[in-house]
Amino acid sequence: MNVAYYSPMPPERSGIADYSALLLPALRRHLEVSVVRRGRTRPARGTDLSLYHVGNNPDAHGWIVDALRRRPGVVVLHDFVLHHLVAGLTIGRRDGHGYLDAMEREGGVVARLLAHGVLDKRIPPLWESRPQEFHLAGEVLGLATGLIVHSHHVEERARAAGFEGPIWRVPHPAWPVPAFAPEPVDGDPLIGSFGNLNSSKRIPQLLEAFARLRRDRPGARLLLVGATSPGFDLDRRLQRLGLPSDGIVREDYVDERRLWALMAACDVCVNLRAPTMGETSGSVVRQLSLGKPVIVSDLGWFSELPAAAALKIPVGEGEVDALHAALELIARDGGVREAMSLAALELARREHDLDHVAELYASALEQAAGGEAVLGSVLGDVTTAAAEVGIPAGSPEASELARRLHEIELGR
């Protein structure tokens, strides 16, 4: 079986490009895979099925949605909220009406009026200010013949949005842990945060909780790795909280090797986020593979991490208190750190193992390509046999047969 594979690929700098680079060799052990050249939207010849990786970035995924429009197929939904993508596909291509229509399709006249406000520059872009209120995934869901998702959260949201096709939940694959020495960064404890510095990563809350922790634990240090988002004034915040410069270790963008080495140096990694667009976090998966205790926001995919491996922080009221308590627990209790570390390693091995993920992908794609023929054949057999013994369609006995078929996932 040959699958046409649409995804950003390295050297493009995108988490999904890295994801595909990791997954493809393992997937090719199960299936023939033809990676479609970037920008090519014509259906690939000689393939049985198309697989489209869709995320929220219009530069990386716009052409993939164009290809999906020409040949429906299985969509890997990396983010559920696709507002930014749709804005790029419409407004970004001077198609304001397309944006109005997308908003109206999802939110009715009120949403259309809001969209007008965006086009007229009367209100800030909704994909920046309130993307979670209008996911705009409708068109992609309508074109998908099946979905691959990474979380129950996205599965439930897709169902709530009316998607009726098959959904396969496949965990995010884990990278093999490279051989290296941890970076020599001091801290007792050393707390790591990896990713862009902005409000949606809850950096203000993290800084506040860390400042409290440092009052009792002057040896604690916070490692912040990632670019500072425009408009996020880190220095001013540090100053206001009275955090001395020796408490913070700052790194901008780092390459993959240094990223691993810095993560390995940490005692705990903090990965907060709100709102969520339905995404998973490659950083968290890397940290689990390293056996690091993680602290996450209690929402979306992050909520689904087992409590043994992740401390979960409610978003909003009490967030800083809960985060401070979690950091204090990790700092104080070596037993907790060790138990969480073991649970993280076990989770990475059990759920995120690359071969396991590739097997689940292959299973989903094989079912997507041939499942309908299988169901048709089985139902044909059963219907014929039923008719031969006088069980007509629509009878209670036929309903019983249908129920039993559904129980073992052989029904339509």
């Binding site: 299988v374 089985v378 052989l410």
Partner: protein, 341 residues
């Protein structure tokens, strides 16, 4: 307790699985349980027959019989565990192996066509649902349990079952290697015949019948083995026990076998087992130079191992005796206690 033991029936085929289910019924009855063996014919080809035939089990109503409740069902082999029952126990002898480790091998069933690939996945999904319904789930070996865990995420308890009852004994460490198995390609009896062709001192007795017999006899003929390979056909209980009692060692090396009772039977006769690195389940009890010899799945390696045993009969006896201790620990009392708990 009223118990229905469920097993598929392949008409005109009788092998280890059938011996096992018959014995399970007997042992449950011997402990005072009203027990019945329930079977449905199973044909797994062509095309989607494997699913529509499995579906027959789903339609069977075993919650009661003739107005009297059935307290428990114990299902064994695919697809009998598709049966519905509020107190379903499954003791897995085999999944449908063509959908798992035999896929894309000479013994596989599913082609590369999308419909065939999807059919294989449907079998796996069926397993996930049907085994997931079990109140308790057992596997006859770590090999089977591992496969179930990898394919369904379920974690069966490992519970080997005792072999058939025979008048096991040891009379000598004689001059032949015994193969006890159904004659089909997956059992790789041809490897033993090729080993005999390489070692003029190796005599082989092959017990069992099956569709591969003609091919195997052809190999023996072509290699001019002059009676050193004897096809004994299906042997009765006494005759089989006598072969076990007199052989030097027992050969058992199917491809990634789920479990296999033969090593246990060999051990109960104090005989070492000759097997291969890729034999699967048997490796859980056959340890190299402890309870037998484990070689590469190649005729020269097997010939060398058989020759070594011939030259080292004291070691052969020691391996067989160590094996006996392993086999003696597996009893019906302990199995049934766990099964019904």
């Amino acid at each position: 307790m009223r118990i229905a033991v469920c097993a598929p029936q392949v008409p005109f085929v009788h092998g280890g699985a059938e011996i096992f289910t018959d014995k399970l019924v007997d042992e449950l009855r011997a402990r005072g349980h009203e027990t019945e063996l329930v079977t449905i014919p199973f044909k797994w080809y062509p095309g989607t027959k494997v699913l529509s035939q499995a579906f027959l089990w789903r339609l069977a109503d075993l919650e009661e019989s003739n107005g009297t409740p059935i307290d428990m069902v114990i299902a064994t082999k695919f697809p009998s565990y598709c049966v519905r029952h509020p107190n379903k126990r499954v003791w897995v002898l085999h999944q449908f192996r063509q959908a798992y480790e035999l896929d894309r091998t000479d013994l596989g069933q599913f082609s590369e066509e999308p419909a065939d690939r999807a059919l294989r996945r449907s079998v796996q999904r069926l397993d996930r649902v049907a085994l997931g319904e079990a109140k308790r789930l057992f596997a006859t070996s770590q090999n089977v349990a591992g496969r179930i865990e990898r394919s369904t995420g379920l974690r069966p308890e490992v519970m080997p079952h005792p072999p058939q009852e025979l008048p096991y004994r040891c009379e000598e460490y004689g001059d032949f290697v015994l193969s006890v198995n159904r004659l089909d390609r997956a059992k790789r009896i041809d490897l033993l015949i090729e080993a005999a062709a390489l070692d003029p001192g190796l005599r082989v007795v092959i017990s069992g019948e099956g569709p591969d017999r003609e091919r195997l006899e052809g190999i023996a003929r072509e290699r001019g083995l002059n009676g050193r390979v004897e096809f004994a056909g299906r042997t009765g209980e006494e005759e089989l026990a006598s072969l076990y009692a007199r052989c030097l060692a027992v050969y058992y090396a199917p491809v990634d076998e789920d479990f296999g009772m033969v090593p246990f039977e060999a051990f109960l006769s104090h005989k070492p087992v000759l097997t291969t690195h890729d034999a699967g389940g048997p490796l859980e009890i056959v340890s190299d130079r402890e309870t037998g010899l484990v070689t590469a799945p190649e005729a020269p390696a097997l010939a060398e191992a058989a020759g070594w045993l011939r030259e080292h009969r004291a070691e052969a006896e020691a391996f067989g005796t160590a094996g006996h201790e392993v086999a003696a620990r597996v009893t019906w009392d302990s199995c049934i206690e766990r099964l019904l708990a």
